[in-house]
């Protein structure tokens, strides 16, 4: 099964990369852009027949390694 994981900075955690990208977008003329946040996208294949089991494993991976709960949130999608 294909799994897509999104790791983003928690609300309230300052994102210097996001700020730099936002400034660059403004200088390119996209003046209406705000709140730019840079995150991570991770995709993988899990050898599992059950969506539920794949979700359980992905959640564990996020909590143990893929995201740092001090500064990051995560979400994911399991596709059959």
């Amino acid at each position: 099964m294909k799994v897509k994981v999104y790791v983003t900075l928690k609300k309230g955690v300052f994102d210097p990369q996001g700020k730099a990208v936002e400034d660059a977008l403004h200088s390119l003329g996209f003046s209406g852009v705000g709140n730019v946040r840079v995150g991570k996208y991770i995709e993988m294949e899990i050898n599992s027949t059950s969506t539920k089991e794949a979700e359980r494993q992905t959640k564990e991976m996020c909590e143990k390694l893929l995201a740092n709960p001090v500064i990051e949130d995560y979400s994911f999608k399991v596709e059959g």
């Binding site: 210097p16 390694l65 001090v70």
Partner: protein
Amino acid sequence: MKFGIVVLPGSNCDHDCYYVVKHVFGKEATFLWHRDRDLKGVDCIILPGGFSYGDYLRPGAIGRFSPIMEEVVAFAKKGGPVIGICNGFQILTEAGLLPGALMRNRDLRFICDYVWVRVERKDTPFTSRYREGEILRIPIAHNDGNYVVDEDILKQLEDNNQIVFRYCNREGVVDDTSNPNGSMANIAGVCNRDGNVLGMMPHPERCCEAILGGEDGKGIFQSIIETIEGGGWNGNR
């Protein structure tokens, strides 16, 4: 006494630490290979700087799962002194031995420079040789040294006196202009509640000889040696 220096793939300050311990202070030192589980009877563990596992995912995120780290965590939980310098600090936060996280520097630049830090606390096994409020000139070299923690934990750190070093100016004033990387409350180093685990971004091992530009880092190693040789650290228990 014997120091153990952890070597992960990508550690690059391991030999500097070894050199200081062995050749500046004349103490026994041994490397602890990341795949091993044997702490070789060491009295203090140093997690050196570098870019373990290429800083992939997040600095320290992968290094913390090395087999040797399980032993380091157990050693720390028994009260053994552990000091993490730079990448070592990042690993200690990822491993949950220290609170908070180290994010990309505020200005998105790798900073390699001498900075001033103020010693906020001397009753730790790492800082007993300093005076409280002493100002040290010490090098930093990092891309991700921006210490972040949530407000509640920050308050706990302040209340429990866990902030060991803060970035300051030459006069010892802690302010925004003396903060190189955006760290909350100018934090350059923190310890755990028991005081036996210290993480710091500055590199004391790079300033232990006048010929290298300064000796302000010597106090860290002297403090550890005196503590261990004086019978160990009982912590705040």
